[in-house]
């Protein structure tokens, strides 16, 4: 689509990205813009998840009867019952059901990557994520009071759904927003979603065992089983650092997360600082609290929340907005984004 010369007039609008050349029969291929690039990163993560699902353990009964049913713990009975039923069903047919799980996730990854099926694949990914968040992750421990942002709460899979919505390939009418996440839902909704997510992470950081002196230490050191030596070293070093100071570090973390949550409402430079902080925090979660998604233990079905938080933050990065300049009358039209 060609938009004539108004993209720079609004100070909240970002510099235009080049569009594909117009065609009589529809758009042709163009280099990925920022949103498309983030969609491709999302596709890469889905593909990785699908292949992780093909690990031998997930074709056994234990996947259903142990791993899935474990997420029922602490949930309200009506939800716990549905999770237990799902776990038993998967346990009875582990090969067929897990093959379906793997196939769907690989198909979502490839579907998002292929431009003709991007929308359909994103829509399926949202529905799939919500289902897995319920059955596979027990709502990330949100309802059981066991949620901890460091080890992945509120659940990586719900972040897939959120990212899919924010990267949905449509644009609201009007000037293009300064950050990608606002293109489909608008700046106000995008910022509200960001604040709810990071605000809830701040709240989870102060819940239950996270306030205890050794809670953080136990959380970090409790997942070293099966990890390679250098990951164990990272965990031991980090857990020693926070040992007996769990409450202090949890409060510090909650403060940082609140800063991230409200940061997007600040002017662009400060908002970008908050987004950068979010990326650092997400990376830290992934390395220390999540052990790289436990990818090295042959028991991970996804990469956990760290990379998703970083990807989400990238969608909120505001491009520097140039000062508005007066356009000379009769100037050539510019090609703005679709």
């Amino acid at each position: 689509m060609i938009r004539v010369g108004t993209a720079m007039a609004d100070s909240s609008a970002a510099p235009a990205e080049p569009d594909p050349p117009p065609s009589r029969t529809g758009p042709v291929w163009a280099r990925p813009d920022r949103r498309r690039t983030l969609q491709l990163v999302l596709a890469t993560l889905w593909l990785l998840d699908g292949v992780l699902q093909m690990q031998a353990y997930f074709f056994t009964r234990a996947f259903g009867t142990q791993m899935i049913t474990m997420s029922a713990e602490g949930n309200p009975s009506v939800i716990a019952r549905s999770i237990l039923w799902s776990g038993r069903t998967i346990g009875h047919h582990p090969v067929e059901i897990n093959a379906l799980f793997a196939f769907v996730q690989v198909a979502i990854g490839l579907g998002v990557a292929w431009r003709r099926s991007t929308r359909a694949a994103l829509a399926v990914s949202v529905a799939w994520s919500l289902g897995v968040w319920w059955v596979g992750e027990g709502f990330g421990g949100v309802l059981s009071g066991a949620a901890d942002p460091i080890n992945g709460a509120p659940g990586a899979v719900i972040l897939y759904a959120l990212v899919a919505v924010l990267l949905w390939p449509v644009d609201r009418p009007g000037p293009r927003p300064a950050f990608v996440a606002a293109r489909a839902v608008g700046p106000a909704v995008a910022k509200a979603l960001w604040s709810v997510l990071w605000g809830s992470l701040a709240l989870f950081a102060l819940l239950g065992a996270n306030r205890s002196a050794r809670g953080l230490h136990d959380l970090i050191i409790g997942q070293v089983d099966g990890e390679p030596g250098w990951v164990v070293w990272i965990d031991r070093t980090a857990s020693d650092l926070v040992d007996h100071h769990g409450l202090g570090y949890s409060v510090l973390l909650a403060v940082l997360l609140v800063v991230v949550a409200v940061g997007v409402f600040l002017p662009p430079a400060w908002a970008n600082a908050a987004v950068l902080l979010a990326m650092v925090v997400g990376s830290l979660f992934w390395v220390v609290g999540q052990d790289f998604g436990e990818l090295f233990t042959n028991g991970a079905t996804d990469v956990n929340s760290g990379p998703l938080l970083v990807l989400l933050a990238a969608a909120y990065w505001s491009r520097p907005v140039p000062r508005p300049t007066s356009t000379p009358a009769g100037a050539a039209p510019t090609l703005a984004g679709a």
């Binding site: 291929w29 990925p32 491709l40 690990q55 090609l335």
Partner: protein
């Protein structure tokens, strides 16, 4: 604990198809004088055949040790290709075909290194009942280097995803449009050319569609499809080694 035999066999079947197709592609390109990258096609033949042998141990056509040498040579070759590319076109330049970038050769370098890693890090292959997969998790010192296959894995999947994203640029309509744009006054093979006044011509850019050269490139969408299949299969095998 092993993955289901049918999963390994399915991946092996896909890799056998890719290897046979790539071999046919090499011959067809020569017979019909169509441009292609013979080294990349040859790499696909070797990797496809080797992976069939890894996935179904009874089908490995060459003795133990030969593949390690082959993929070392292949990796060195792609290091040389990367070096030549940067020397000739710079880091952000395009190949003579106006389609491929440095990432094309880097990806194949990573693929060759991944194959080498899988052979060196896995326990010695031993035929199993039913001829199922001969690969296993990395052992010994290699078990502490699991960050390396993870890096390979991410590069391969990203490459496969980006390749699939770009597959539409080779559709007949896209290529014909690129040819028509390239034919317009003031437009070079990859976009607007500078005019004498120093500004570029205000004509839409033909984005990486390769122009007339790409229209002669032998079955580019099939080539891309093979690459995607190879990235996914290699990724599957690397995941089992994490």
């Amino acid at each position: 604990m092993a993955s289901p035999w049918w999963l390994d066999d399915s991946f092996a079947a896909v890799m056998a198809a890719v290897a046979v197709y790539s071999l046919g592609r090499l011959l067809a390109a020569r017979a019909w004088s169509r441009p292609t990258h013979p080294d990349v096609d040859l790499a696909h033949v070797l990797m496809g055949t080797a992976m069939v042998g890894m996935l179904v141990s009874g089908l490995d056509p060459v003795p133990h040790g030969v593949w390690e040498v082959a993929f070392t040579v292949l990796a060195l070759w792609f290091v040389w290709r990367c070096y030549r590319f940067v020397a000739d076109h710079g880091v952000e330049g395009q190949d003579e075909d106006h389609v491929h970038h440095l990432s094309h050769y880097l990806t194949h370098l990573v693929m060759a290194c991944s194959m080498l890693y899988m052979y060196l890090a896995s326990p010695s292959p031993s035929p199993r009942a039913g001829g199922s997969m001969a690969m296993g998790a990395a052992t010994g010192v290699a078990a502490d280097f699991v960050g390396l296959p993870l890096l390979f894995l991410v590069v391969l999947f990203a490459s496969g995803v980006w390749e699939l994203d770009g597959i539409e640029r080779f559709s007949p309509r896209a290529v014909s449009l690129a040819v028509s744009i390239v034919g317009a006054p003031g437009v070079g093979p990859t976009g607007p050319v500078a005019t004498r006044s120093g500004s570029s011509a205000a004509v839409p850019r033909a984005p990486d569609q390769g122009g007339p050269y790409a229209s002669r490139w032998l079955a580019p969408r099939l080539e891309a499809g093979c690459h995607v299949a190879m990235c996914v299969t290699m990724g599957f095998m690397l995941v089992l080694m994490l």
